[in-house]
Symmetry: C2
Subunit: 336 residues, 2 copies
């Protein structure tokens, strides 16, 4: 048996056994966007970590140092956002190959610090070492959340409305541009590239959702909408019905799909790296939640479907056709 047989999530399930040695005060161990535990009353500590490896997660020649630093921190802040928390301290490990210019690393730190400043996050430590071939980046972030405001993947209830805090699929379109070396010749393509290289962690949106009544579950879209909704369904033992025409597709993505002949909904469903938040909220609170979100952030909270009791994920097309969805975002190692 090897990793391809069991995939990333199979591997995690396999090695998690025996990892929780002292369960007192642990609220979330392996299996949510961040670990959550208490060390003192009044605040829950959140810790998340993400490893980015050259040629697996990025191509060094295709991403500016600034953007790589920005994104490396952003993907971690996004995990704290998905738990409803405030990000506080970041820890950056770098494995640096000989052919990596100091200027590239300076830019990397400048990008990371630019984002850190926006959210008052300290870069408080880390490790710097060599690497034979690939640039390696591991970021860990520490955050805090009041106990009553912690958001997990496991609270979704049948009848809940499923929301997205932003457009989906743009980052994958940006990746397509990078991988196919497509010249960025319109503002629309520029937007997609930016969505891929400088995702905005939804920390303010996460705090907003965490403080609202009726918000039951949340996750950030890192693996892809269908995959990440799938994580909520699994953790909450529920199902979901998504509406194809409600899945938020930006004008830039629509333009891209028309030009390169892709289906926008496919991009939005299985894209990944969007770093918007998906949340589920009780139906009686849903309208008010969406209205308040619009008022606070001056953009819509998109209702994209609802939680069901069936333990299936379905996609309804405007003509009434119904497709059974399987998570189709990123799952490292697994043969596709």
């Amino acid at each position: 048996m090897n990793l391809r047989d069991i995939g990333e999530f199979g591997f995690i399930a396999r090695v998690s056994r025996g990892c929780l040695i002292r369960p007192d005060n642990i609220i979330k161990a392996i299996g949510d966007d961040a670990a959550a535990f208490t060390t003192a009353p009044g605040a829950v500590t959140l810790i998340t970590t993400d490893l980015l490896v050259e040629r697996v997660h990025f191509l060094r020649h295709a991403i500016a140092g600034f953007d790589l630093g920005y994104k490396s921190l952003a993907v971690n802040l996004s995990d704290i956002a998905a738990m409803g928390g405030t990000a506080r301290e970041a820890f950056v490990s770098l494995g640096i190959p000989e052919n990596c210019a100091l200027e590239y690393l300076d830019e990397f730190y400048r990008g990371m610090q630019t984002l850190a400043e926006q959210y008052a996050v300290n870069i408080l430590g880390g490790d710097t070492t060599g690497s034979k071939v690939d640039l390696i980046i591991n970021v860990a972030v520490h955050g805090l959340v009041p106990p009553a405001e912690l958001l997990g993947r496991d609270g979704a209830k049948p009848g809940d409305i499923i929301f997205s805090t932003g457009f989906l699929g743009e980052s994958r379109a940006g990746l397509h541009l990078v991988l196919n070396d497509i010249r960025i010749d319109t503002p629309e393509l520029e937007m997609l590239l930016r969505a891929h290289h400088r995702p905005e962690p939804q920390l303010r949106e996460g705090r907003f959702l965490a403080q609202r009544p009726g918000v039951h579950a949340a996750i950030d879209v890192s693996d892809g909408l269908s995959s990440d909704v799938g994580h909520i369904l699994e953790a909450s033992s529920v199902g979901a019905r998504l509406y194809a025409e409600k899945i938020p597709v930006s004008a830039s993505l629509a333009d891209f799909c028309a030009r390169f002949d892709f289906e926008p909904v496919d991009y939005a469903l299985s894209g990944g790296e969007d770093y918007t938040l998906i949340c589920t909220a009780a139906p009686e609170h849903a309208d008010q939640l969406a209205a308040d979100f619009q008022k606070t952030f001056n953009r819509p909270l998109f209702a994209i479907g609802e939680i069901t009791a069936t333990r299936q994920m379905e996609l309804i097309y405007p003509d009434g056709r119904l497709a059974s969805l399987t998570p189709s975002g990123w799952n490292h190692f697994k043969e596709k």
Copy 2:
């Protein structure tokens, strides 16, 4: 200018500027064994992280999965020990190349869990992803310490006695055995290999030192004795005098050095990866500290020298010869 020109510590100094964005409640930022900050009264939070990269820090064919897992966690627990803390939660990121067997990873987790159990540390999260060539391991550890018991590198005072909690140089001898493919044919060589592959984090010793009066500074020996004492001197703006004949050399290392014609003191001074603790203590408390350590741990606390006001590091030989020491342990990137 490139990384070789400025070295690991030059690089860290360069990129640390601008990293502390919100200094409230931060006790130690970049520059000690772990970051230290408060989120609530009564406890200081410690976070440390270490990146291990195949072919830079280890050779996969030369270390068992169990040992690699054990050591990956141990080096982080050692940083918590050096701050006087209790380790609580660990976060493990793995970048796994295709040619890495699942059985190797199972053993890796078994090694990590074996050590985690000894110190009641949870493996609470992480990230699992692919890697093109090298196995990549990043571990981050969260710990706690009472505010009055936090040990840093920066408290050493002229006149302090410098102590080591254990033998030095064994791990480097173990590395020599690995790199030169030397057959392990005696219990002594077996001990040295074990010192290299399964370092024991001195968490109990760190807590002991943290609670004793007069202990001013501490560090764990990861880069090498001379380099790590150098870190204390720099952080404390002091100097040190070490006595060659007092530097603790185990019988196993003495045996190895006699057999392969090395100088034991050189190994002990510039070895690295010993993961013993070095501390400095006020002279009026030194004898009692050493006696109590012996009583508690049933082995000696080795006095190896004293802190001076000169800002130099000197080594005194038994015949009275005096050598000026420069830190000569690990400094990634820097040309030696």
